[in-house]
Symmetry: C2
Subunit: 171 residues, 2 copies
DNA sequence: GTATATATGTCAATAACACTGACTTAAATT
DNA sequence: AATTTAAGTCAGTGTTATTGACATATATAC
């Protein structure tokens, strides 16, 4: 009685993953992301910052010297949204913004000592959670995890994620 | 020069996953979730509903007859937050709420025809995305994907996700 | 060198989603 | 009869995001 809502409840589905398997994946993504971000959210709660600040700190940390436009492309939010968050982070000395030497329209962003310290604490927690989840899964399983997530990402953005095997990222 | 921020930039890290690998996983989760939800968000945009409505519709669809308290536990939001979203969904006839026959304090929720139709459209899209991501990864890889996500979820909630291999879910 | 395009920033209004705290109602349990 | 549980509501607040309009500085094209 409870089985499928995706298909019309008959017993077909021949060659592809069954509905239940796909629904399970949907739920796994929801719960995993909820808990994955929840931990960092809790750590941030004291500082007055939120998830948006975390994202900015993370990506500036991962891409030192990133420009505003590049950051917007990654986050897929509007300039005005970023502005508020970024303004606070600069104001409170977590991020340093410097004009590009060559193209003086561009502002490049860097973590301050304080910013890097916060980034480290946040990333450390999340890394630990993932590291634990990797345990007992085995290299092939971990590779499967990566491959499926990569496949879920919009094609045009798959290369935005740093690809370890290949030489070096740039962004 | 850009490598690690997690550890102090020296070349250690012996037995465990290296920082770059874990950072990559963090980014994969971010981008995958962003795009995974983005598609449904776009579909919802016309209707005036948002991601919160989607979550309620999804979980009521997956757990027909779920009570308010059970839904709150899954979503980890407050009663007041749910109230707004749920109220709209009932008002606009996507969800039907009926008093439990036995315990008349409980209100059980069900999708209406209209609600089930919307749920189907949303879940279909997301399922298709996951199905595509599964292609070429192989059964072991898919199992790895599931296992890692399950490991990321807080221990107390790992069984909230339907576990296909075992008899049946309940919630 | 003037015109145009690009990169960034800002002002104002609005909306979705979430929170805390305090309280009510109805029904079940003790 | 007293207490607990399930659900709902009122009021106030905060974070994250949106759209639209406009301003400034700099680079590039003609």
């Amino acid at each position: 009685m409870s089985k499928s809502i995706l298909r019309t409840d008959a017993g077909e589905s021949p060659d592809h993953e069954d509905d239940a398997g796909l629904r399970q994946a949907i739920e796994l993504l929801f719960f995993a992301y909820r808990d994955f971000t929840g931990e960092a959210d809790a750590l941030l709660a004291d500082t007055g910052f939120g998830r948006a600040h975390h994202r900015v700190i993370y990506f500036v940390g991962a891409n030192s010297g990133i420009t505003v436009a590049e950051l917007l492309k990654i986050l897929k939010i509007t300039k005005q949204s970023l502005s508020r968050v970024l303004g606070q982070l600069i104001e409170e000395d977590f991020i340093d913004q410097r004009t590009d030497e060559i193209d003086r329209r561009r502002r490049r962003m860097y973590l301050t000592i304080k910013g890097a310290e916060l980034e480290r604490r946040l990333t450390e927690r999340q890394s630990l959670r993932i590291e634990k989840a990797y345990q007992g899964v085995g290299p092939a399983g971990v590779e499967g995890f990566r491959a499926v997530l990569r496949g879920i990402i919009n094609e045009e953005d798959r290369n935005t994620v740093s690809n370890i095997k290949k030489p070096e990222k740039k962004i």
